[in-house]
């Protein structure tokens, strides 16, 4: 098996310190808004990490990942609304639904390659978005309110007094995504996925069951994304097709991963840590004028970054070293 770098002591210490800082963050910053920004960073880092599994490690560029996000959000919310099911169970069911959907989509769509595959994922995303807008039982365009339950409780995954618990749950989900990605990275599955990414036909000729592993990567990716969706629903307490299914969301997820460094373990977190605060900052300081100055800056910065270091931030960091991710 080709070597995937085992983490040196330095990396472990660095990661450990970061984790401690993140754990301590809400104790220092008690205002809701900074916590909200970091929660959003965690959420997008996690979504990007999930997407990374399929796109970065396996090379299948999906631009319709919002389908899984929405699947998770809607499943847990509908189950909670109509059957009074706990959101935790709803989350798991949501992941299962997402996996099922992913396999259904993957089976035909994985026959396509490159840009055809990408556009096909957009098409699927748009179809699902349209169907959800017109599905009245699931709220349609009017969306769904997550039934408000008081008092705050972990069992109901709803907290109104403070964001602290949301913060730790989001961090937990991110750590889960990290752990799974790392496990895949150093396993045989990771090896197969990378082989498929580099040259699908060569991999097949070596006896790697290409279709099966693509489906597995897709399933894992979908499940994680769906967990994020359920969390989002419990956090915002209102979902509609426009907030959980649009193509724009799919693109945003992949932007985060690309900025940070696709196919790397830390890329998604770095990407989220830059893009999310950037979006917030530009909107807060420039957004009130109606002149869309914030979006102007946002777009310009994205272009600048893509030109200066197309490989993402991680590529900058790894320049001169053989890429192992």
């Amino acid at each position: 098996m080709p070597p995937v770098a085992r983490w040196p002591v330095v990396r472990w210490t660095g990661a450990g310190t970061l984790l401690l800082l993140l754990l301590a963050f809400p104790l220092v910053f008690t205002q809701p808004h900074p916590r909200h920004v970091v929660i959003t960073i965690f959420l997008f880092a996690m979504l990007a990490q999930a997407w990374n599994l399929l796109a970065g490690y396996c090379g299948q560029i999906s631009l319709g990942h919002a389908v899984f996000f929405g699947a998770g959000a809607y499943t847990s919310t509908l189950l909670g609304k109509y059957f009074d099911l706990s959101p935790w169970i709803g989350m798991v069911v949501g992941a299962v639904v997402a996996v099922a959907v992913s396999q259904l989509i993957g089976y035909p769509v994985f026959r396509l390659r490159g840009h055809y595959f990408a556009i096909a994922t957009i098409a699927v995303g748009e179809i699902v978005n349209t169907l959800m807008i017109n599905w009245d039982w699931a709220g349609g365009a009017r969306g769904l309110f997550v039934p408000i339950k008081r008092p705050d409780s972990l069992a109901n995954l709803q907290f109104h007094q403070s964001k602290q618990n949301y913060y730790y749950i989001a961090l937990g989900l991110l750590l889960l995504a990290f752990w799974i990605t790392r496990k895949v990275e150093v396993s045989r599955m990771g090896y197969y996925l990378r082989a498929i990414r580099e040259d699908q036909d060569a991999a097949a000729s070596l006896g790697i069951p290409v279709a099966a592993y693509k489906q597995r990567a897709m399933a894992l990716s979908a499940a994680l994304t769906a967990l994020g969706g359920s969390f989002y629903a419990q956090y915002i307490l209102f979902i509609d097709p426009d907030s959980v299914f649009p193509t724009a969301l799919s693109i945003l997820i992949c932007l985060v991963a690309v900025l940070g460094g696709i196919g790397t373990l830390w890329g998604p977190l770095i990407g989220a840590a830059i893009l999310i605060p950037l979006g917030e900052w530009t909107r807060i300081y420039f957004g009130g004028t109606g002149k869309a100055v914030d979006l102007l800056i946002y777009g310009a910065l994205i272009m600048l970054v893509s030109v200066i270091q197309p490989g993402g931030i991680m590529a900058l960091a790894q320049r001169g070293r053989r890429r192992t991710g």
Partner: protein, 427 residues
């Protein structure tokens, strides 16, 4: 010794208490947070609304003799708060409920706003009002049309404007009144609505009421907002040929509809629109004779300024605002925003305090008379759900390029043109 210390601390706390009390009793400013769409498709509505509100802020902070709620005074600032001035913080929610939620929270916890106002989009108002409810901060709403917003049992959410239920009711009441008055029988209706929250809500209420009032719904279609073509939709309308056509569209789609209908020669006998595109003054200016005879529900009627000079006075001021370089007339969106804003500020003034509970009580006790309103309502009085019960929807018809109020008949400035003139009949 212990007694001395005890007395001293008592005295100290008394001093501190009075100091903080007096500090709270005379705030230097009242901060209000406005969450509006300032980018994207409906940005112009947001921009105009903010312009109207800023205009009001200037008037409140100075002296004015405009007869808007709480505005007629000879002193600067809010008299009930010792002359405190209003500071408006404006944020853009970009049409996204999660952004609205984050901004509402930031405004409350970091900018320490006394009250919120917003957000036009019902989907965003849904989340901002949740935040307000959670923190116990008054939230005023002047434009969102989804009935659900005041059906959630919230204590802190107040809406001055009518919602879809009122508007659609008005449409059907009008139809019944009209049939009676003119001796005409209208049997079928056709519904077409865009597929965002606004259209979906409208379509649902229209379908329910149509059945209740005994009309047959021969076609009921949702269409993709900002679609590239409405050929299929108009084709279906022609095939179904309803007597009355009820569209719900924003401006851009409305334009496309008119042009497509013109090309395909589709003219229903009567068209009653659900506001939005049809009350956009630019729409009327651009479409001109092609929309002669179109009726729309409207919360606001500029032509009533003949009977109510207040409207003309406000409009003149609005046209001169520097954020309104084209000198446009005030349209219904900024008019509604202005109304909601003035009701809110008046309540804060009456509360004589920036304490949320006091303001809330003042809001509950609101009783603004009709002559202080730009709107053709009977007044502003909030029911136990926070909905203004004094609302009145009116219907206007485009006649000779301008809106004319045609219903209720006792308010009407003109007679109803019926049936809709065909495209070639229009001069």
């Amino acid at each position: 010794m212990r007694r001395a210390i005890g007395l001293l601390s008592l005295a100290l706390s008394a001093v501190l208490a009075t100091a903080s009390m007096s500090h709270a009793q005379a705030p230097k400013e009242v901060v209000i947070g406005a969450i509006y769409p300032l980018s994207g498709n409906l940005a112009q509505i947001g921009i105009d609304s903010i312009t109207a509100m800023r205009m009001a802020v200037e008037l409140y902070n100075g002296k004015s003799d405009l007869n808007l709620p709480g505005m007629k005074k000879t002193t600067e600032g809010l008299p009930g708060l010792g002359g405190a001035k209003i500071r408006l913080i404006v944020v853009d929610h970009q049409g996204k409920p999660d952004v609205g939620q984050a901004e509402a929270e930031r405004l409350i916890t970091q900018e320490k706003v006394t009250a919120l106002i917003g957000a036009v989009f019902s989907s965003v108002s849904a989340t901002t009002s949740q935040v307000a409810e959670r923190y116990g901060v008054p939230h005023m709403n002047g434009e969102s049309s989804s009935p659900t917003l005041t059906e959630r049992g919230f204590k802190w959410f107040f809406r001055t404007s009518p919602h879809d239920g009122h508007f659609t009711l008005a449409m059907f009441e009008f139809l019944k009144d009209f049939e009676k008055k003119k001796g005409v029988k209208l049997k079928t209706v056709g519904l077409m609505h865009e597929d965002t929250l606004f259209g979906a809500d409208s379509g649902k209420v229209q379908e329910e009421l149509a059945k209740k009032y005994g009309y047959e719904v021969v076609v009921n279609m949702a269409y993709r907002a900002k679609t590239t073509s409405l050929d299929a939709e108009v084709g279906k309308l022609k095939a179904a040929a309803p007597d009355v056509f009820l569209p719900t569209s924003y401006t851009s789609d409305a334009v496309l509809y008119i042009k497509t209908a013109k090309t395909l020669e589709y003219v229903p006998r009567m068209l009653i629109a659900q506001n939005a595109g049809w009350v956009d003054p630019q729409f009327v200016a651009e479409m001109n004779k092609d929309i002669e005879g179109h009726i729309t529900r409207s919360p606001f009627a500029l032509d009533l300024q003949a009977k109510k000079p207040l409207i003309r006075q406000v409009n003149e001021l609005f046209k001169k605002q520097k954020d309104n370089p084209g000198g446009r007339d005030i349209s219904e969106a900024p008019a509604r925003a202005l109304t909601a804003f003035t009701v809110l500020v008046d309540a804060i003034n009456r509360a004589r305090s920036t304490s949320p509970e006091e303001i809330r009580k003042a809001l509950v006790a609101t009783n603004v008379p009709a002559d202080q309103l730009l709107m053709p309502w009977t007044g502003v009085r909030f029911d136990e759900k926070g909905q203004n019960s004094g609302v009145r929807a009116i219907l206007q018809q485009i006649q000779k390029g301008a809106y004319a109020t045609v219903w209720p008949f006792d308010l009407a400035a003109a007679d109803v043109i019926y049936p809709l003139p065909g495209f070639k009949d229009k001069k």
